[in-house]
């Protein structure tokens, strides 16, 4: 079966395919220099990965069809952008990076099937992919069985630490603790209303939030509620919020439900810019605002590690490159940025290990730094999560966030937080 193998070189997609001969000629001419730069394949690849003398193949596995496509396409774009930039900069261990893209189709079993295909048929050296917790849980046994390495971009609930996954997003405590502290200290919040979609990530996040609010800070949770994924009727919870008057609504509503929730809040007379109550979300990025509409969320606060408006030279370059590649009207959310980190961290680990072998690069993850991260600077913890800052942004009517707070230190990733279980 013909695979969808594509490659990008020097930013001009497609030149590769036409220029096989040119490339061959060039590689003959440059044989001496190229081989000096690129260590021989049998040395850097002892486990039969798809590595040749001048290419290495990786897999991209996200949903580009189905309900999750709207969220995951940004990640696909970021990963492709990172791969083409890596190729432009000379590739990995002297090898150009090619990718095989598979569609998880928003369907968890399909994710498992495609992950198996990438590892068994294509022998990819890395998989950049999965988005929802459910899809990660579906591919995890496959990745572990065939000893692959998954670079997982989404902020998630923690309680997991696989030797075959690098978590480039935040685990729950990195998103929650600092933002609750901020709400309590900067905004003087005393009472909190926890609201989320009904699945593992919001439930775990709210469990941690409740422990932190009640046990660590001695404040009060006045309500905790969950609605099924895709739920669109929030009138009853809005009435309860009116009744209990919390200082903060802590929201982890995901996907399409957000559109209904924020519109109904607005229709019920809440103006988020008045901050009464203050709305703090851990699930609305710039991507979601595109669907909800900036005017409906103006004034809400989000706790993330990355906002498109972040003011640093790395991010300026990243945003410019992203818009050049995919158009000026693109927005970049937290997960998109985390997905962008995946290929770069893989490259760093491979080069540090001097090998594509999964077992060798696994040894090298701890302590790997990436200075060119759009979020500023990240470092891999020995638990395969990233040290990164927590930032709080306030939504503007144009759909962007204005950063109002960031932690001074990098937050330590702690997927199994003591005292929060």
């Amino acid at each position: 079966m013909k695979m969808n193998k594509q490659s990008t070189t020097g930013g001009t997609t497609g030149r590769w395919g036409l220029g096989r001969f040119k490339l061959l000629a060039a590689s003959l001419v440059l044989a001496a220099t190229a081989n000096a730069a690129a260590p021989p394949t049998e040395e850097v690849n002892t486990t039969g990965l798809a590595v040749t003398d001048d290419t290495v193949t990786v897999g991209i596995l996200h949903s580009i069809t189905g309900t999750m496509a709207i969220s995951e396409i940004g990640s696909v774009q970021a990963e492709k952008l990172a791969i083409s930039q890596i190729n432009e900069a000379g590739g990995v261990l002297g090898r150009q990076v090619e990718y095989v893209q598979e569609d998880g189709a928003s369907d968890w079993p399909t994710f498992a099937e495609k992950a198996r295909k990438l590892l068994r048929q294509d022998n990819v050296a890395a998989i950049f992919g999965a988005w929802t917790s459910a899809s990660r849980k579906a591919v995890l046994p496959v990745i572990e069985q065939y000893n692959g390495m998954l670079y997982y971009p989404t902020f998630y609930e923690g309680l997991e630490q696989s030797p075959n996954v690098v978590y480039t997003g935040q685990e729950a405590t990195q998103q929650i603790l600092a933002s609750l502290n901020w709400a309590a200290e900067e905004k003087g919040a005393k009472t909190f209303y926890l609201l989320g979609s009904d699945y593992i990530w919001p439930r775990t996040s709210n469990k941690i939030a409740r422990k932190h609010i009640e046990d660590m800070r001695g404040l009060k949770v006045v309500g905790e509620e969950y609605y099924p994924l895709g739920h669109t009727q929030f009138n009853s919870v809005i009435n309860k919020i009116k009744l209990r008057k919390p200082d903060v609504i802590f929201a982890s509503v995901v996907g399409g439900s957000n559109v209904a929730f924020y519109k109904q809040m607005k229709a019920a007379g809440f103006d988020f810019t008045e901050e009464d109550p203050l709305l703090l979300t851990i699930s609305v990025t710039e991507d979601e605002i595109r669907g909800i509409g900036g005017e409906n969320v103006e004034g809400i606060y989000a706790s993330m590690k990355y906002f498109q408006s972040l003011d640093n030279p790395n991010n300026e370059e990243f945003v410019a490159a992203f818009k050049e590649a995919y158009g000026d009207d693109m927005v970049i959310g937290d997960v998109t940025q985390a997905a962008y980190l995946g290929p770069w961290l893989w490259k760093a680990a491979v080069e540090k290990a001097g090998s594509f072998d999964i077992d060798k690069i696994r040894e090298e993850f701890a302590g790997i730094e990436f200075n060119k991260a759009p979020e500023g600077y990240v470092r891999i913890h020995e638990n395969h999560h990233l040290w990164s800052k927590t930032r709080i942004g306030q939504a503007q009517s144009d759909g962007q966030y204005k950063v109002v707070y960031e932690t001074e230190e990098l937050m330590e990733p702690d997927p199994f937080p003591e005292g929060y279980q």
Binding site: N4, E102, D103, V142
Partner: protein
């Protein structure tokens, strides 16, 4: 069927079709495909169980169920619960707050195993439940609907609603069911690691064996008086009722039969794929299963198998080759089939390939195979089994 009848059957047209299918599944595919692809074929075959049930229920008896995913899912969940309990031994789950219970229960702050999980420690109970639970639910639904003479579109809508309800229930009760993640990370079956290539290949053959068993049962039902009553019910329900038959009982029976097939398919799916998730229970999955059946030809038992195989192979193939466009290709395939060949592949085969076959094999007629010449004249003709006369005019290929 005595010995000579049996050997006669094997050289009959119908027998040849079954032999060809067996040859394809047992010999050709395992030789041609690597273990990874073979496992995928095994997965497609698990849908064939559902499609087979739909042939009996919808094609023969005219009861369209848009909720077969429910029974597939229940069978699958029963098996998954057993495997999950085995995977959650106290040693494996030592890092949890409560070791010895499945990981998702621990995440949801459950501290002990819910009562309905307890029996799934037993493998024999699980095997019973794989068929028993779907059949019980089908019986309850069937009894409630058919004795009140709810049928046709209304029944289809109700089955669809049940699929939606069960999905919401499973997703909502995530502490007990694993929620939207499903039950994942299944490892061993009575100590046998089901994730290795050898195990998956063995399971593939078990799956093929189970499929033939179900095909046999379906064929048995079809060729008995029972099958004729089902077909008659489809055509003229009231006449059957006025002839003194209890229509509701027959409908309940065939609906339960379809549920049992689907349950077996679901359990095989869990074993072959290594997890179970609510996405197989939902409305979309259930409708997809009707499409497998429609594409194969809803009157043809063998067509169901080919329908499930072809649709799923096309789905994998298209999505690997055109990850951004494959849903359109699938859509085109379905529209094309429904518009051009409403009787599905089996209908296509009957009208184009069979006449060809007849011309080819007519010469062999003298050799004693009671096959050829008769088959061309469709109605009531080519039935090989002299003691079991032909029962329907709709599916002369008798598969």
């Amino acid at each position: 069927m005595n010995n000579s009848a049996l050997s006669k059957w094997f050289v009959s047209r119908e027998g040849v079709y079954y032999l060809l299918l067996a040859l394809l599944l047992v010999v050709i595919l395992p030789l041609v495909l690597d273990p990874f692809r073979l496992n995928m074929v095994g997965k497609y075959l698990t849908y064939a169980f559902v499609a087979l049930g739909l042939v009996m229920c919808w094609g023969k008896a005219g009861i369209l169920s848009l909720g077969q995913g429910v029974f597939f899912g229940l069978g699958g969940y029963c098996m998954a619960m057993f495997l999950k309990l085995e995977a959650s031994s106290p040693e494996n789950t030592a890092i949890q707050s409560t070791p010895g219970i499945p990981d998702f229960m621990d995440w949801n702050q459950l501290t002990e195993l819910p009562w309905f999980w307890e029996p799934f420690h037993s493998f024999s109970f699980t095997l019973l439940a794989v068929i028993g639970v779907p059949v019980l639910l089908a019986f309850i639904i069937g009894f409630a609907m058919f004795t009140r003479r709810v049928g046709g579109v209304y029944f289809a809508i109700i089955t669809q609603a049940i699929a939606a309800i069960l999905t919401i229930l499973i997703i909502g009760q995530q502490g007990f069911t694993g929620g939207i993640n499903g039950i994942t990370d299944l490892q061993t079956l009575n100590g046998w690691d089901i994730r290795t290539d050898e195990a998956r290949t063995t399971l593939y053959f078990i799956c093929v064996g189970m499929l033939f068993l179900c095909l046999f049962v379906a064929r048995l039902v079809q060729n008995r008086k029972l099958g004729r009553i089902l077909m008659a019910m489809n055509a003229q329900e009231n006449r059957v009722r006025f002839s003194g038959y209890d229509v509701a009982a027959f409908k309940i029976f065939v609906f339960c039969l379809a549920a049992a097939f689907a349950g077996v398919g679901g359990a095989m799916f869990t074993l072959l794929v290594g997890f179970m998730s609510p996405s197989f229970i939902g409305i979309v999955a259930s409708i997809e299963m009707v499409i497998f059946c429609a594409l194969g030809g809803r009157l043809s038992i063998l067509g169901a198998v080919y329908g499930a195989l072809i649709v799923n192979a096309a789905k994998s193939g298209f999505s690997e080759s055109f990850p951004e466009l494959w849903p359109f290709a699938m859509g085109a395939l379905f529209i094309g089939v429904v518009l051009a060949f409403p009787d599905g592949l089996a209908g296509l085969y009957r009208s184009y390939v069979m006449p060809l076959e007849d011309r080819l094999f007519r010469r062999d007629k003298d050799k004693g195979a009671p096959v050829a010449g008769t088959a061309a004249s469709k109605p009531a003709a080519a039935n090989e089994n002299d003691d079991e006369p032909v029962i329907d005019n709709y599916s002369p290929e008798k598969s």
